[in-house]
């Protein structure tokens, strides 16, 4: 019921969502002084390493910088499909 409402009234294309997404991307680079290319490389390397151990969904893979209080952190959100059977490695 509420999902229906959300679909009717809460437009997914609302311009604030566009604003947030653009800000999210631009701030990643601003905060780390890391170029988009370097971040892409970092991401690809992470995918490479982690997929040796886990079956990950590289579509949903996200790397982000977050600032918490006085510290800055690299936060990776890595959706896992399923555990890779260790015996097959």
């Amino acid at each position: 019921m509420f999902d229906l409402f959300a679909r009717v009234f809460g437009r997914d294309d609302a311009s604030k969502e566009v604003a947030k997404e653009r800000l999210r991307l631009v701030l990643v680079h601003d905060r780390a002084s890391l170029s988009p290319q370097a971040l892409e490389n970092l991401k690809n390397d992470l995918v490479k390493v982690i997929s040796q151990y886990l079956d990950i969904d590289d579509q949903g893979f996200r790397v982000d910088f977050s600032r918490d209080e006085d510290a800055m952190a690299l936060v990776a959100n890595i959706p896992i499909r399923k555990k890779v059977n260790r015996n097959t490695l």
């Binding site: 311009s15 604030k16 604003a19 905060r31 600032r67």
Partner: protein, 266 residues
């Protein structure tokens, strides 16, 4: 010993001077002894927003260079005898003072006043460094727009670099009707992105223009919605716990209010 608060933003024109004038007048109305410093050297503005432009004799640079005593340069407000302004020099530029000189000046003023509010110029260069130098606390003003939030983020990083920790945020010029439609970022979006504590939410209000025309800060007008928001900021600065209730509701948008009406959380 008083507290020095710098009002800053990075991006120009988002409401630093308006905010400084209103918080200053609000604190003075609440009985605090307040001094405002216009640190925007070369682009003096706080005097006209306060309606005190005709009383200026000496300015900040005169005091720093020793041509005038602080007491002589401070201009007393028309409305409150516990409110003073130290105007910016108009014919000099930011290099006329150094961060060390500002630190000394603000330190001296803190001995006399409960609050010293510093109106920071736009930008991230020497004007910013000067304005921030003597402050104990920073307030970042941002409007709900991509460029303003981006610059606010940069300023928060630079404040950190200057060892000014835990700045707080004033969101200015929010338009509830646009937030409702999903065409303007809401308060939660901004706090989430900037990871910073909220100090105030000021609506976009035509009365700000009227009050600037008159040189009468909106905080003194009981009818102005922006004025009410600034009165709340004032009380928070004095340590009161004032809820953000009304504006939160407005910022939740249609679905949020619907959920709330039906008692659904999240």
């Amino acid at each position: 010993m008083g507290e020095a608060i710098v009002i800053t933003s990075g991006k120009g024109g988002v409401g630093k001077t308006t905010t400084t004038a209103n918080i200053g007048a609000g604190l003075a109305q609440a009985g605090q002894k307040v001094a405002l410093i216009d640190a925007d050297i070369g682009l003096r503005n706080l005097d006209v927003v306060m309606g005190l432009e005709n009383r200026i004799v000496y300015d900040l640079v005169d005091v720093v260079e020793g041509f005038a005593k602080l007491k002589t340069a401070l201009i007393k407000d028309k409305r409150f005898e516990n409110l003073y302004l130290l105007p910016a020099a108009q014919t000099r530029d930011k290099t006329a003072v150094s961060p060390e000189q500002m630190r000394d000046l603000v330190g001296e003023m803190k001995e006399e006043f409960d609050f010293v509010l510093i109106d920071c110029p736009a930008g991230i260069e020497q004007g910013f460094k000067n304005a921030v130098a003597g402050s104990d606390k920073a307030v970042v003003v941002a409007t709900p727009e991509v460029s303003s939030v981006r610059d606010a983020d940069r300023i928060i990083g630079l404040l950190e670099a200057e060892e000014k920790h835990h700045p707080s945020l004033i969101v200015n010029r929010i338009r509830p009707s646009m937030v409702k439609k999903g065409d303007m970022m809401d308060i939660n979006d901004m706090i989430e992105i900037l990871a910073i504590e909220l100090l105030g939410v000021v609506p976009d209000d035509e009365f700000i223009v009227v009050s600037t025309n008159r040189g009468e800060p909106a905080v003194l007008n009981p009818q102005s919605r922006a004025g009410e928001a600034y009165r709340n900021v004032t009380r928070r600065l004095m340590g009161e716990n004032v809820p953000f209730l009304k504006l939160e509701e407005e910022s939740q948008g249609f679905i949020g209010r619907l959920r709330k009406m039906m008692g659904i959380k999240g």
